[in-house]
Each structure stands twice: as structure tokens, then as C-alpha cells.
Symmetry: C2
Subunit: 188 residues, 2 copies
């Protein structure tokens, strides 16, 4: 096998998802994931610490993208709207692979140890968005509060989107969730 492994990340993720659905998360080994991806176990471990991590990207790309999207929202955007815009751009990516997102979600929900890892990921995404807000000159704790509340709205929208019988865009659910967030915090 050549040392050049184009898109090793994507291939490992795809292979892991397939195997977790076919055999279950518990009964799948790293060796099997690597084999299915046509890569070695060593390559797997160059990219991921364990078979939980493979469901959560590389741990740096998405946080960096979200921080950048927050920072680059229109200058006039209020902090909460900059967060909404960043999450919307992520939503557009997820929308392209609703089936894959759904499978990943089902596997994570069914395994407490994956749920724990998801919560860590969620907390890092919120921290990245708070960093993006501070880059726009937003003070703490406003930055953290906007980022964390925005993540909560994202999660609500994401669950509704996955549960919806039609394939209405995640964007629509995000818009609704942010509207409801504003209403409930304002005490309307």
C-alpha cells in the first residue's frame, strides 16, 4: 500500500459508519474499519485516537470553520445573529448528506459513550464560536452565552430536521429555533 492515502479521513469515516450500521458499534474493530477503507490500522491511528473519534471529524476543522464564519459575519450582525449565520453555513453542509447525518445520529444516540464524546464536541464548537465572537470585539460572558445558546438552538433544529418526514431544509428549522430562542429568553 502506498504511503499516499487520498482522503483517508473520508474513507475511514465512511467505512466506520457502514460497519457500525451493519454490525453495531460494539462489535466493530479498528482493524475492520481500516480493512474496509483499504488502509492500515496504523493509518487509522494516525488520524483518530479510537473508534469513537472517527464519528466526530478531525476535531479541528469544524471548530475552525465555525470560528471563522462567526468572525466573518457582516459587521452589522449582532452576536447571536453571527452565531446563527455560522451554524447556518454548517447546516448547509449537513443538508448535502442528510442520510449520512441521520445514520451517524442514530449510532451516537444509541451509545452513551458516544453521546459523551458528542457533548465534548458540542462544547468545543461552542467555545470556537465564542472565540470568533471575541474576535469581533464581543466581551465575555456575552460571547460564551451567545455561543452556548446558539448551540442549543442548533441541536433543537437538527433533531427536528432529522425527525421530519419531508426533507425540508435544516436552514428553515434553524431559523425557527433561533426565533423561539429569542422569544423564550425575552419572556414573551
Amino acid at each position: 500500500m502506498s504511503r499516499w492515502q487520498p482522503n483517508a479521513h473520508g474513507r475511514l469515516e465512511q467505512a466506520a459508519l457502514e460497519l457500525y450500521v451493519e454490525r453495531g458499534f460494539d462489535r466493530t474493530t479498528v482493524a475492520e474499519i481500516a480493512e474496509r477503507a483499504g488502509l492500515t490500522e496504523r493509518t487509522f491511528y494516525r488520524h483518530y485516537a479510537d473508534k469513537r473519534e472517527v464519528l466526530f471529524g478531525d476535531g479541528t476543522t469544524l471548530p475552525a470553520l465555525l470560528a471563522k464564519a462567526v468572525e466573518e459575519a457582516p459587521e452589522s450582525a449582532k452576536p447571536i445573529d453571527a452565531v446563527a449565520a455560522a451554524l447556518d453555513s454548517w447546516g448547509v453542509q449537513l443538508q448535502k448528506n442528510r442520510k449520512g447525518t441521520m445514520r451517524r445520529h442514530d449510532i451516537i444516540s444509541a451509545h452513551p459513550e458516544l453521546w459523551e464524546r458528542y457533548l465534548v464536541k458540542r462544547s468545543k464548537l461552542a467555545a470556537a464560536m465564542a472565540e470568533g465572537l471575541r474576535g469581533r470585539g464581543v466581551d465575555e460572558p456575552a460571547a460564551t452565552l451567545a455561543a452556548e445558546s446558539g448551540m442549543a438552538a442548533f441541536e433543537v433544529a437538527h433533531a427536528r430536521w432529522l425527525g421530519a418526514p419531508d426533507s425540508a431544509g435544516l436552514t428553515r428549522y434553524l431559523r425557527e429555533a433561533f426565533r423561539e430562542l429569542k422569544a423564550v429568553i425575552a419572556g414573551d
Copy 2:
């Protein structure tokens, strides 16, 4: 040793905290915690699944208390204010043991595996408060959004309180954090 172990929970928690501070979390065993508490290892495992759990209460008392406090907030209280009231009543308890809370916080922050467990706890507390809100007739997703945002405000207040040089009440920091939450979500 008699089968009657008054306040085994509190004794195990106290012993664990002491040992984690003295020797570090990694170098402390369940056997040592049990010994320090004057109890058996078997008793430890009747109360906690592992040495992480002992830092997080029994996993049911606090969620139940918060849910009840939300549900019993004055009828006129808006959802976010019912959440604030419940968290304030928890804050009053924490205030009584600022030093213990601080030690626990330091240990948790220093160990990623404890931080993961904390995030699970936080998520359960938010879920319990959302349940309390639904008991008041608040619909989803407003209930979840108010509970999750409230938890974020609590976390901000808690960190400020622990970091403050004076021993000003957690209640004051909570009030501030909820005020800042309302302002940033409203886009003020």
C-alpha cells in the same frame, strides 16, 4: 462493619475529594477511598459506578430537585425566570460549601475524562429543568432552549464566583449572568 452506613454518600464523596487533592485523581484507587471513608469497596460500588462518579452526586437527587424547583416557581414566572429561580436555589446550597465546590471544580477541570462526565451531568440537569418546564405547560422546544441557555448562564456565574477574590454570593453572579443572557439574545 455493620450494614448500616449512615451517610455513606457524603463520607465517600468527602474521602474521594481529600484523596484526589492529596494524591491526584489518577493515583487514587477505589479501595483507598473506601478505606478513608471507613467503608468497604463493595459499599463504594453500591453507590457509584466508578471513581469518576463520586464527584457528581448520585445522579438523581439534584436533577429531581431542579425539576421540582422549576415546577414550583411562582405561577407568574416566565420559563427563563423559573429556570433562574431553580438554579438560584442550587446556588444557595453551593454557597454553603464554596471551598469544597472549588476543590471539586479544580479536579474536574484538570482531567478531561472528568470534564466529559461533567458535561453529561450538565446535560442531564438541563433535561431535568426542561421536564420541569413541560410540567408547567411550556411547550418544546421553548422548554429545552430555556433550560439549556439557563445552564450556560449558571456555568458563567459559577466560574465567576469561584474566580472572585471576595466571597460575594453566587446569587449575585447568577443574577448578572441571566441579565447578560437576556441582553445578548435580544441583540441589545
